[in-house]
Amino acid sequence: MISVAVQEADFDAGAELRALQADNPALGAVASFVGLMRDRNEGVAVTAMALEHYPGMTEASIRDIAEQACERWPLGGVRVVHRVGLIRPGEQIVLVAVSAAHRKEAFAGCEFIMDYLKTRAPFWKKETTAQGEERWVQARDTDQAAAARW
């Protein structure tokens, strides 16, 4: 069971975990990841971030990534929530939660989805520095390398 939400509103990570756990008593493991906005990026203080996306393709590409994870590992459920719009330091940006019978598969599925989401899903971040400058966040080679290992 795959659930994908792309939304401006903040989300309740606990409720997402509960929704996965309610699924199926054969599942013993839920691995999850929450990405938060940091107050610095590449050494510069940042005060806000605008997250742009490609409506329609965003949801479809996340669902496609989740389906790939379900083909690679025997997963019970996948829930992804990704925010768009204006985000402030300390706020939640993204949640990926994955259930499975055992923890190895749950962790692998969760990391895989995060790595692919970072390098495949059409989101773009523009941050505002403490000096008031707006700049597009640059893609990171380490993210490409993380996705390439799967």
């Binding site: 742009e52 479809a60 990704h82 059409p122 523009k126 597009w136």
Partner: protein, 84 residues
């Protein structure tokens, strides 16, 4: 027509989020469409889109190889993604 979308830094560089390009038989992605955009928006716009870093999506799926376009297709050009 082909609906052509630009996102993030490409949207800003081109000064527009969306244009319509007339479809004609044999129109191909990416080279043919970029040539059509050059005629419509100018060579500078086309040069931006031809950068090897730019990603091209055809009907909301990433497109890495030459692909024939059909009337009504949606094409998007965008920079490397930075979500998550």
């Amino acid at each position: 027509m082909i609906r052509v979308l630009f996102f993030a830094s490409l949207r800003e560089a081109l000064g527009t989020a969306e244009i319509a390009v007339p479809w004609q038989a044999g129109l191909e992605l990416p080279a043919g469409l970029i040539a059509a955009i050059a005629r419509q928006q100018g060579e500078a716009a086309a040069a931006i889109l031809a950068d090897e870093q730019v990603i091209c999506a055809h009907n909301q799926r990433v497109c890495k190889h030459p692909t024939a376009l059909n009337a009504g297709d949606e094409v998007a050009f965008y920079p490397p993604v930075t979500g998550g």
